[in-house]
């Protein structure tokens, strides 16, 4: 493309609305030293900067601000599996050792987070390992396997409130077994935290689409997520009031040919809550 054609795309580039090919073309062109386009891009950016000064404004309540910071504090533990792992990995029960150390660390990090944020004394239902074995099954078989979160309760994890439910699912994906995730449902604030690892962690920056459906019919969340350099990703889905504790979760690479949940793809039944 010539400069003029590229420049017509600069606003959409800044708004993140172009496809990968167009983004590459623009970035390659500018990095090859086109000063005119670089100046144009810079001017567009300044214009956008100014325009956003006039964006509509609504006061943020102190309660909302506090809630965001509280969530940030919790997510600090969620993404920092280092300390959680160090403390809890030795306590992981035998079944957890059969899943990848990466995912084990993740679950430990989650539990550590919950343990430090809650002061209750009732055990949590912990995920079992059936998901791992599902990775070897054809999708039609895997779909029927309910991950009910009623696995072994290790004695070391008795500091967590019973309202939390965690379970684990593994994407069969394209190719199989590439993505593992843990879900924690927090009914007190109506959130499901999904916590995923791409393992092995390649390719970098791969986009996935995740669907969460209530009772397999009503989509309550569809989200694109991107694995980071170390293969991890973290996201939280706010759920509406769930009338059934059973959710169906589908996860597939964004470049997969089918762009909606399908029985032919992995579709996991995930039981959260009581």
């Amino acid at each position: 493309m010539d400069c003029k054609s590229l420049q017509e795309l600069f606003v959409e580039y800044q708004l993140g609305e172009l496809d990968e090919g167009q983004v590459d073309a623009i970035e390659r062109h500018i990095s090859n030293g086109c000063e005119e386009c670089e100046r144009e891009m810079s001017s567009i950016l300044i214009g956008i900067d100014l325009l956003f000064e006039a964006a509509p404004s609504t006061p943020v309540s102190q309660a909302r601000l506090t809630k965001i910071v509280e969530r940030a504090k919790r997510s600090q533990y969620l993404i920092d599996t280092g300390s959680g792992t160090a403390v809890l990995r030795n306590s992981m029960p035998q079944y957890a050792l059969t899943i990848s150390a990466y995912v084990g660390s993740l679950a430990a990090g989650l539990l550590f987070m919950m343990a430090v944020s809650q002061s209750g004394s009732i055990p949590i239902s912990l995920q079992n390992d059936r998901a791992s074995s599902n990775a070897h099954l054809p999708p039609s078989q895997a779909r029927t396997d309910s991950l009910d979160g009623q696995g072994i309760v290790p004695s070391d994890f008795r500091m967590v409130q019973p309202e939390y439910r965690t379970t684990e699912f593994v994407s069969l994906g394209h190719p199989p077994s590439q993505f593992r995730a843990t879900a924690v449902w927090d009914p007190l604030v109506g959130e499901i935290h999904f916590f995923g690892f791409q393992f092995p962690p390649a390719p970098i920056d791969r986009d996935y689409i995740l669907w969460v459906e209530q009772a397999g019919t009503v989509p309550i969340a569809i989200q694109t997520l991107r694995s980071e350099e170390n293969g991890s990703c973290f996201f939280t889905i706010k759920t509406p009031l769930v009338t059934t504790p059973r959710l169906f979760v589908t996860l597939e690479p964004k470049d997969a040919p089918v762009k909606q949940p399908s029985d032919d793809l992995q579709l996991w039944e995930l039981q959260v809550g009581n």
Binding site: E12, G47, P56, S57, K67
Partner: protein, 198 residues
């Protein structure tokens, strides 16, 4: 949690603030929300229409920065542009998830008027510091030709793609792109020197 001290807000340095967020400093996150939260929330609300959902999107925006501070490149854009672009994008994602998109789009348009009602209701000291700049930009926007102004507002504050703006205003896509580009350039040429940008 107590409010951020006014003096600290007045002296904030956004780059330093983002660095402190990267170091997991909660006070820095609070300060950033104090300063940019109203506009992020206002934009989210303008696009998704509902206060609670807008607040949820706003939370996601700030938590995304908190969890992935490396995604912000200070060389590439100001923190305001980064946050508001992210807010716009996340709001559009949220909106598109809804099945009744057409109905919601109608809501967006009617909410524009409602949103402007809040334009001067910010109470935080930091927002007051930005008020003058904001008013200058709003005046410059009003001076733009109507079609340019409408195209900019629909594309940036209502979350429509260029193609959707084209359909809404019943103008060719090329014309819409040109209006948006010219509008941004006009804002820059009118205000960049005054506001010490670029």
């Amino acid at each position: 949690m107590s409010r951020v001290p006014k003096q600290e807000l007045a002296e904030y340095d956004t780059k330093e603030l983002v660095d402190r967020i990267a170091q997991r400093e909660e006070l820095a996150l609070s300060m950033l929300i104090e300063v940019y939260g109203p506009r992020v929330l206002g934009l989210c609300r303008s696009i998704v229409g509902e206060q609670l959902e807008a607040e949820s999107v706003m939370s996601d925006v700030f938590l995304e920065l908190w969890n992935r501070p490396q995604s912000y490149d200070a060389e590439r854009a100001s923190i305001a542009t980064y946050l508001l672009t992210l807010a716009r994008s996340r709001s559009i994602d949220r909106l598109r998830r809804r099945s009744s998109q057409t109905v919601q789009m109608e809501k967006i348009m009617s909410n524009e008027t409602q949103s402007t009602r809040h334009d001067h209701s910010e109470t935080s000291e930091a927002a007051a510091l930005l008020l003058e700049k904001r008013q200058q930009v709003q005046c410059a926007l009003l001076r733009l030709p109507k079609q340019q102004r409408d195209a900019l507002q629909l594309a940036f504050f209502s979350g429509l793609t260029h193609r959707e703006v084209s359909a809404r205003l019943q103008l060719p896509l090329g014309t819409i792109k040109s209006h948006i580009r010219k509008g941004l350039m006009q804002l820059k040429s009118e205000l960049a020197d005054t506001l010490e940008l670029g």
